[in-house]
């Protein structure tokens, strides 16, 4: 078992929703639900749910092979600016590398991160996909 079931259970809100930590002391918001503000260290924070929508700021097509991600290569890692003004790095799916554009609108979906091969646990979480505009 590569990863802990306990971690996924404990942090399921963070892995299955896009949660942000908003700090009442310094006013900044950051990705991932925490009990401490990673900017100023204050524990006077509140958790807010993001729409999960945003735009691609930058991206890279990754061929870096690990024994966890082999079946998903190449994968696209994007730096996304959520509509709330918070930056997130995460995987971008359902799009060919050649079609990715800076400024592209994206939204969040539940996908598979990795699995313990071949009969083990499957780890799910959120990834970005392009927003399809209906023409």
């Amino acid at each position: 078992m590569r990863s802990s079931i306990s971690i996924f259970w404990r942090k399921k809100d963070s892995y299955y929703k896009v949660l942000l930590t908003r700090c009442k002391r310094c006013g900044r918001a950051s990705f991932f639900a925490r009990d401490v503000c990673p900017y100023c260290g204050s524990s006077d924070v509140s958790i807010v749910e993001s729409s999960g929508r945003g735009r691609v700021v930058s991206y890279t097509v990754s061929y870096f092979r690990t024994d966890s991600n082999e079946e998903y290569l190449p994968l696209i890692i994007a730096l996304v600016r959520l509509d709330e003004g918070v930056y997130v790095t995460g995987e971008l799916r359902d799009v060919e590398p050649a079609e990715v554009r800076e400024g592209m609108e994206v939204e969040t979906v539940l996908r598979r991160y990795s699995s313990d091969d071949p009969y083990g646990l499957i780890y799910y979480g959120l990834k970005f996909i392009p927003v399809i505009k209906r023409g």
Partner: protein, 375 residues
């Protein structure tokens, strides 16, 4: 606070040492460095090995290594700060002596990065990022180097071709380093056409995978003088932590380095042009940024100055000397020590300062070691 000196250093060639384990690799440099300093036994041993738990399945590696080397009852401790662990080990050794808790400290950096196939090693080394927020979500260190490189190229209008100068130069330097892992010339075209890692990063923008071991004896004044060799003062070892990449206001900045170098200049009168350097060029784009943060080159223009650098990464750097992770920080100090004391690779530095820079990930933490020649 007492002065701390380097009394001796030792390293082995960085390579895929399939026929030797960590005990054998460490054993060679420990024996050499203890003899070199003319000491019986150190008071303390500080060990750095980034893959101890992962590749080696070993907790408390410092103790097990000390037991194996027959050095009881000497206390031992392992330090982990990711890729900069080697310099963190020097930092702890320095702190022990300066505080008067030890007179002689053995620092050993040893890494076996080749115990498993590369794709497994790649999974291990990705754990320098936040497991819960980054690693589990399939983000790996080269992805960050790629995002940083793209932003840098866009911001400063620098082309991919212009950024090939660093790996080319590192390979040239390594030709004269008998300990280097990669000893062959490369061309800009080879860098551009090498295997894609995370575009635009290619294989020749990043370090090779290799094993290594390096050791130092750090000592107080009374012990150092006994070795009879010229000694080098460890003026200070300072470190700082930066924010994760997705929380940064400017992803082309390595703020910890800027903070630390400013502190060293203020406190010790460190002069940029009177120093020999070894910097942590895990990815070529990081080298350009590090040069700028240290004040060696102007922001966005360091690639223009690489050609003229004589005293930076004479060893060939992480790119060509290699990056045996936990040992790298110890190699760097050893290399600067050699260049300043007796010359290395046909280069000798007669100036005042030596500065080594070691970091983990994209400046998740950075450490600087300031060495000074004493007359």
């Amino acid at each position: 606070m007492r002065d701390v000196y380097i009394a001796s250093s030792s390293m082995i060639n960085v390579d895929r040492h399939f026929n030797r384990g960590y005990k054998e690799l460490a054993g060679v440099v420990v024996k050499d460095v203890i003899e070199g300093a003319s000491v019986e036994q150190p008071d303390y041993i500080v060990v750095s090995s980034m893959f101890a738990e992962s590749s080696l399945n070993q907790l408390d590696l410092a103790t097990i290594l000390t037991q194996h080397l027959g050095l009881k009852p000497v206390p031992a401790i392992r330090v982990d700060t990711g890729e900069s662990s080697g310099l963190a080990a020097v930092e702890i050794a320095y702190s022990l002596i300066t505080a008067g808790r030890a007179d002689t400290v053995l620092v050993v950096g040893v890494e076996k990065a080749t115990e498993f196939p590369t794709r497994v090693t790649n999974r291990f080394l990705s754990k320098v990022l936040d497991y819960e927020v980054e690693v589990l979500r399939n983000i790996t260190p080269p992805n960050y180097a790629a995002l940083i490189m793209k932003e840098y190229m866009k911001r400063y209008r620098v082309s991919r071709e212009e950024l090939t100068i660093w790996p080319v130069k590192m390979h040239e330097n390594a030709l004269r380093n008998p300990y280097a892992q990669l000893k062959f010339k490369i061309t800009p075209s080879k860098v551009l056409n090498a295997i894609k890692i995370s575009e635009p990063i290619t294989l020749y923008d990043m370090f090779p995978i290799g094993d290594g071991a390096a050791a130092l004896i750090l000592a107080s004044s009374k012990v150092a003088r006994k070795s009879g060799r010229e000694v080098l003062l460890v003026r200070d070892v300072v470190s700082a932590t930066s924010r994760p990449l997705y929380l940064r206001d400017d992803i082309t900045r390595f703020e910890s380095i800027a903070t630390l170098i400013s502190m060293l200049r203020r406190k010790y009168g460190f002069r940029i042009d009177d120093a020999v350097y070894e910097i942590h060029d895990s990815y070529s784009i990081y080298a350009y940024i590090i040069l700028e943060e240290l004040g060696i080159a102007r922001r966005g223009a360091s690639y223009k100055e690489v050609e003229n650098l004589v005293y930076v990464n004479v060893s060939g750097g992480l790119k060509a000397r290699g990056h045996p992770f936990g040992a790298t920080g110890v190699y760097q100090v050893s290399e600067v020590y050699n260049i300043m004391v007796k010359g290395a690779g046909g280069v000798r530095f007669d100036g005042t300062f030596g500065l080594t820079h070691s970091m983990s990930g994209p400046d998740y933490n950075s450490r600087l070691c300031l060495l000074e020649r004493v007359v």
